[in-house]
Each structure stands twice: as C-alpha cells, then as structure tokens.
Amino acid sequence: MTLANTCDVAIIGGGTAGCAAAVHLRRAGMQVILVERDRCGGGASGVNFGGVRTQGRNPVELPLAIRSRAIWSTLNELLGEDVEFDATGHLKLARSPADMAELEAYALLAREAGLDLTLIGPNAIRAEVPWLGAAVVGASLAPNDGQANPRLVAPAYARLARRLGVDIREQTSVTAARRTEHGFEIDAASATITSRLLINTAGMGAAAIARLFGEEVPLEAMMPNMVVTEPVPYIATRSIGVCGGDIYIRQIPRGNVIFGGGRGGGDWMDWRSRSSTETTLTNIPKLVDIVPAFRDALIIRSWSGIDGLTPDKLPVIGPSMTTPGLLHAFGFCGSGFQLGPVIGEILAELALKGGSSSPLDAFRIDRFTQPGLAAATA
C-alpha cells in the first residue's frame, strides 16, 4: 500500500479521543490520517480503571459527561463489537457525616446540570448494599454510571476507523508540526503529512504539540495506581468511589476486583509508568474496610498509566487560540475514558462546523496564561 500524505484532517495521538474523532470525521466524508506513537489505545486509554462515571465531576464537565454516557449505551452497535460496558451504577460513599453533607450538596448541583443522584442514608445503605463495611455511613448513587473494558474500546474505535478508510500509522511519532499557508505540515517518521486541519489528541504528549503553536499548558503527568485481584465471589455489583477520591473499586462478573487510588510512578518522558508498592499497601486497608468480603483475596497484578493533569483538573477541549484550523483535546485529569466517545463527536463538530452543541467555555486552552500572552508568542 502506498500512502498518500495529504488529507483533510491529521490527528496526532490514537487514544480514545483521537480514534473516536477519526471515526466521526471519516463518516462525514473527510480524508483522515491518524498518527500514533505506539499502538492505538496503548496509552492511558488502554490501561485505565475502566470507570464510566458521571458522578463527582465538576458541574461544568457534566453536560459532556451526560452526553457521552448516552453514547456508551449504543457503543457496541457503533463499534461492531462488545466492549463490555456494564451500567452497574456508581456509588459514591460517605465515611463521615461531613462526607454525607458533601454528597448532599453535590446532588443539588448535579440535578441542576441534569444528573439525577439518589442519596442513601445510614440505615438504607445497610439494607440496600449489605456487602459494604461498617465504615460506610451513606452514599450517593448514580444509577446509570458503569464500567467497561478499557483494553477494548480505543482499539475498537481504531479498527472501525480503519474499516471506514482512515489511514492509521502506528509506531510513528510526530516530531514536528507547523502551520503553512494552506493548513498544516507534520513530520511523522520519514513522511511529511499535509492537512487542512490538525487535531491534537496526544494525551500527555499534547502539551509539547501545543507549545509548537505558542500555547502553554502547565500539564503534569498523572499516574493513577491500579491493582487487580484474583477472581472472588461476585458481590460488588456496583462501581464504588468515595468522598476524597482516595480509593475506587469495581468488580467484574468473573470475580476479579480492580481497585485504584493514589499514584504510581515512572517517567512520562520515556512513557514508562508503574504501580507504587507504598500506594498499593496504603489502599488495601481502605479496600477491606469498604468491602470486608474481599479480605482474603490475592493480588495478581498492578500497573499504572499516564494521563495529563491540568491545574484546575479540567481538560483542554476546543480550538487553538493562536492557530486557525488547530483543535485540541487533552489533559483529561484521570477521567477521560468516560468522555472519549463524546470527545470524538465534539472534535468532528468543531472541525466540520466550527462549533459544538456542547458548552466548551470552561475548557479553553488560554485559561492558564495571561490574556494576550499566547498571541504574543505565536
């Protein structure tokens, strides 16, 4: 196959965001080339906790999360394969009266944004969720939240994109990108790809791409710590989070318990990340307090991954402020798996129509810098 190096849209980064964007753009008739440093879905998108969660998000993110959740319901049909999405519901637990007050306050905010949460008090929680430990004094239930298999989603988007005719180039890094008279040029291995539009969905690598266009985002590497146990009897039928966010737990029907919380370690410049034993050992007592029945399980594996973290814990989504035709979507701060499907749609809207039906104001790229600075350095 000889490759043409000219397209309508070039995409840098093949995580869920980039691969989903490729699908929607191609379906709208665009010629798309996607360049991925490693393998599609080999980054954060392929190793995350698998939580498909709207509850607990910053209210400004909720419209996107709610819209994305609707796509999850029909994702298998879109992708043509089962990505193991299971609407288990998500319980956010209170371990103190102060936590409970926090849950109550959040429920009000969430309702305004269109997310209905059910508060469960101390008595009801024992009756309704008997497998929770005594440390739990109440909870808030998001009945439509759930979980999915992260190892399958982004690769499934990538395969669909390929079937539709997207030119996906894996194990190819973008090393330079520039604006030209008619659009963009990016250097990807030995090829120079020319495109009318450019999409930056390079995950933790995205800040470096943005910088090429004079846009500074103080992105920090975020490496959540993940652990999985051997299969044990299936009791945790709901996905679990806590106030404070220090631990989250889910069990899959085959019995494995996956729990996360705190950070692993590594060197993102080398794209290397690993679990941290301290973090794992700190999380275990919390896990056992929350679901005592898991106490006798064995840990069989642990890992981490690399996502981008911004100072306000919100992603960057939207057009470049320095360079027409450039779109960004990155910095998902540990919760971009759930958003992936809608990010694909939004990027396609922005590329095709120049605007999105979802509110994106809170995600502007120039919010981190003094107004004017970005333009001055362009």
């Binding site: 393998r39 392929g46 394969e81 190892r151 399958l152 690769p155 395969r159 894996e170 146990t229 051997e230 370690g265 690993r274 679990s275 034993t277 794992t280 050992l281 275990i284 007592p285 896990l287 056992v288 898991f294 106490r295 006798d296 399980a297 064995l298 840990i299 069989i300 594996r301 642990s302 890992w303």
Partner: protein, 474 residues
C-alpha cells in the same frame, strides 16, 4: 569511648542474592570469601534450589536416595551453605518471596513477602539466581486432575517421597525425562510409559557436542540405558499425546513416529518440555532481553561474566539461561567475582580464567543438548481450537485465534489485552510462550516480533491480608 570506624556517611554496599540454589549458594560463598556479607533470600524453606531441594523436617532420607548420582554435590552445597550460615557470613532469609524490584537512583528496592507479611529491603547490588520452571505445553487433556509437570512430579518425590500415581506416564523433551524415570525406578515405581517428543536422531547428531562434557553425557546415557534395562525403555519421537479421562486422568493416548497410535491406562501423567528461565525479576529491574533461538525463549541479556544490562544487577544460573546445576555453580561464582571486581575488590584473575574456560566448555555441551532436545514445534503446530491454553483464565486456542483474526494484535502483550491470555494468577508464566507461538503462526509474524509478556508486580500472587496492620504481630 567508641572505636574509630568508617565515617558514618560511608555505608556498606548491600548485596542481595535472590535464590539459594547452586548459583546463589556459590555466589554467596564467593562474596563471603572476599569479606562481603550478602543477604540471601529464597522462597523455599531450605537452601538447595531445585536440583538440591531438601525434604522438609521429618521427611529426611539419605542423600543418595534423594539425589542419586548428585548426592555428593548436594551434600557439598548444603554443607557449604550451612558453614556460611553458622559463621554468620551470610544473612539468610528463607521462606521469603521477592515479588517486585524497583530502581530508584542508584539503588534498588525489593518488595518482600515473609510469613504472610510485607517487608521491603534496599539493595545496592543484586545477584539474581532465580532458577527455572518447567516449560509446559498444552495438549488435549492437560488440564485434567492427575496431570503434572515433570518438575512437580520430581518435587513431590524429592521433598515428600510421594509419587503422582500408581500407574504413572512420564513425557518430556529434555534431560529431565530419563532422570525422573530413573528416580521413579529407584524408589521402586516402574512408569507405565516414558515418552520423549524429541527425535532420537537429533541426539545422535548432537553427540559430538555432548562429548564436551563426558561425565554429564555418561550420566544421561546411563540413565537412558538403565531405564531400558529395568524394562522402561524411553520411546523417542512421539508425535502427539492426549490425556484421557472425564473428571481425572484414566489413560494416555499417543502416536509414535511409525504412525501407530497407542493407548494405555494410567492415573498420573507428568509432562513438560524443557525448562524456562524465571526471569520476571530481571524484567522488573529493567534488564534488556534477547530471544535465544536454540532454546526458543527470551533471556535477559548479560555479558560473559553475568552483568545484566542494568548496572548493579547480575544474573547467574538457570534464571539467566538454562544450563543445569554445574553451570549454575560456576556462573554464581563468576557473577560474584564480577560484582566484587566492579566494586574495586581484588579477585583472582587466574580463577576468573578457569571459570571462563569451564563455562565455555559447558556452553558447547549446552548447545548440543539443545539440539538433542529441540523445541517440540509439532506439539504447538496443530493445537485444536477447543484446547485451553491459558488455564487461569480458561482461554482456548480457538478464542486466541479468533482474537488474532478479528482484533489484529501485533504482539503477545496486545493479545493479552484483547483476550485475557496470561491475566490470571500465573501471570502468563505457563502460557505466555504458547500465546506467542500461536500469534506467530496465525498473524504470520516471527516469534521475535510476537515478543514476550512484560512482567508486572507482584510476580506471584500476594494476599491482601499481608498489608493489614493487624497481621504484623504474627
């Protein structure tokens, strides 16, 4: 008054040896001779490793009975270790699993599990002497109760004096087979079948190289001949095997080179096909690996004297490359000398040359042994779709082929991500190499491109309770 000592900021270099088999024991003895007191960690209750495994207290038997020809060596290794221990020249931590190694700056951190409790240990230098495990290959019926590996059958015999059944069939592709046949015969159990999936002709061809190590060769020839003399001749060139039975093993069917099929009744089968280095700790420590064609497995890269690609990590014995006990002894000493040398402790140049020469001779023998027992590719070539490959997760060959066809994994880690192969308790130690073989065969890539499963901590399962503070009192 305090005696003048080294300034407080000069910390002693801490050397940790992982594994107390022949490689670890000679490494420890070598360090001790040069004034270094290593910490020696082993998962097992007693030193000796696989070959010189000791029975538990209360099950002691004369060494000759347990180790046969190797009794003298076993006694020497055990004695050597005991002397080191009683002279406090080593710090021995038995029943301690090293389940993770991480590098920070110039040091290493080891995560340990001992008596069900977590501990950590910092190390400046590490000698990995972690030995090997059986290389298992799937065959119809291999998941039936009553099917073991040769190594497991041997461990049961050595440590507990127990056979795996009354009517036992032994199947192999390596020198462990004639050895185990003889060990069974020695305790008065005549195996009902002894099958070698390697062709006899390969052994004849390899004769020249095997002669490089005449004593070992004689031992092998002796075992084979003795087995025949006692009415348990080893059948070579076995083409296929199948364990029979519904809820447990009741028989074995196999096909010989002449095209004939045979069926025998048995209640125990031990089958494995060579050995595989236990190299996950090297992987976690960041060592680079290379594929070795002759043994058809990935091995941590090391130089002639046992330095890995990571400064401060040395590898010796079967954990680096399968070489057997004698090689392990030599390599353990050699790695220890390299470590001392790197740290500026003078060592005998002459001794290093002697070791080098001996190991070269051994390596010719080893290459010959590998061609005598080539990888039984015919067993993995025609695996039926219904056969379970990953027994922890219950993944069949058909599911793997389907995943390969539909999801196009490019290497075995991707295949793992898509199919769950190797995601269970054993972390792919038993099935990862088979997954790679299937991938290479069906995706049309080479076995090198198919790659190897990356190690992830913990390398063996650890209980959640090991991290609960209330347990620490024990």
């Amino acid at each position: 008054m305090t005696l003048p000592g080294p300034p407080a900021n000069v910390r002693r270099t801490r050397v940790v040896i992982i594994g107390a088999g022949p490689a670890g024991v000679t490494a420890a003895a070598t360090l001790a001779r040069h004034g270094v007191t290593p910490i020696v960690i082993d998962e097992a209750a007693k030193p000796g490793g696989q070959i010189y495994r000791q029975p538990p207290d209360g099950a002691a038997r004369p060494p000759r009975e347990i180790y046969g020809f190797d009794a003298a060596k076993a006694t020497r290794i055990h004695g050597l270790f005991k002397d080191l221990q009683s002279a406090a020249k080593i710090d021995y931590r038995s029943q301690t699993l090293v389940w993770n190694i991480t590098r920070n700056e110039q040091r290493f951190r080891l995560d340990l599990l001992h008596n069900g409790v977590q501990a950590t240990l910092d190390a400046d230098k590490i000698i990995l002497a972690t030995g090997a495990v059986d290389r298992a290959l799937p065959f119809p019926g291999w998941v039936l109760p009553g099917v073991f590996t040769l190594g497991a059958a041997q461990i049961a015999l050595k440590s507990q004096g127990v056979a795996i059944g009354r009517r036992v069939a032994l199947i192999g592709a390596g020198p462990l087979l004639p050895l185990l046949v003889n060990q069974y015969l020695a305790v008065g159990i005549k195996p009902v079948a002894a099958l070698d999936v390697a062709p006899f002709i390969a052994k004849l061809r390899a004769f020249g190289g095997l002669a490089a190590q005449p004593a070992t060769l004689l031992k092998g020839a002796y075992y084979t001949a003795r087995a025949a003399a006692l009415g348990c001749a080893i059948t070579s060139n076995v083409r296929s095997i199948r364990a029979l039975g519904d809820s447990r093993v009741t028989g074995l069917a196999y096909a010989t080179a002449d095209g004939k099929t045979h069926e025998i009744a048995c209640d125990g089968i031990a089958a494995s096909f060579g050995l595989r280095s236990e190299s996950q700790l090297a992987d976690l420590a960041g060592c680079r690996f290379e594929f070795d064609n002759a043994s058809r497995q990935w091995q941590p890269l090391r130089d002639r004297v046992g330095r890995s690609s990571v400064s401060g990590v040395y590898i010796a014995g079967d954990g680096a490359a399968i070489g057997g006990a004698d090689v392990a002894e030599l390599a353990g000493e050699q790695a220890a000398l390299a470590l001392l040398d790197d740290g500026g402790t003078p060592t005998s140049v002459e001794r290093r040359h002697t070791l080098d020469r001996a190991l070269r001779r051994q390596s010719r023998f080893r290459r010959a042994l590998e061609s005598a027992y080539p990888f039984p590719a015919h067993l993995v070539a025609n695996i039926p779709d219904g056969l379970i490959i990953c027994r922890c997760e219950g993944i069949t060959a058909g599911q793997l082929r389907d995943s390969i066809a539909r999801r196009h994994p490019t290497d075995v880690n991707r295949l793992k991500a898509f199919s769950r192969l190797g995601m269970g308790r054993c972390q792919g130690r038993m099935c990862g190499h088979v997954g790679a073989e299937l991938l290479a065969a069906h995706a049309g890539c080479g076995i090198v491109e198919a790659g190897r499963l990356r190690a992830q901590p913990p390398i063996k399962p650890i209980p959640l309770t090991s991290a609960l503070a209330t347990e620490v009192s024990s």
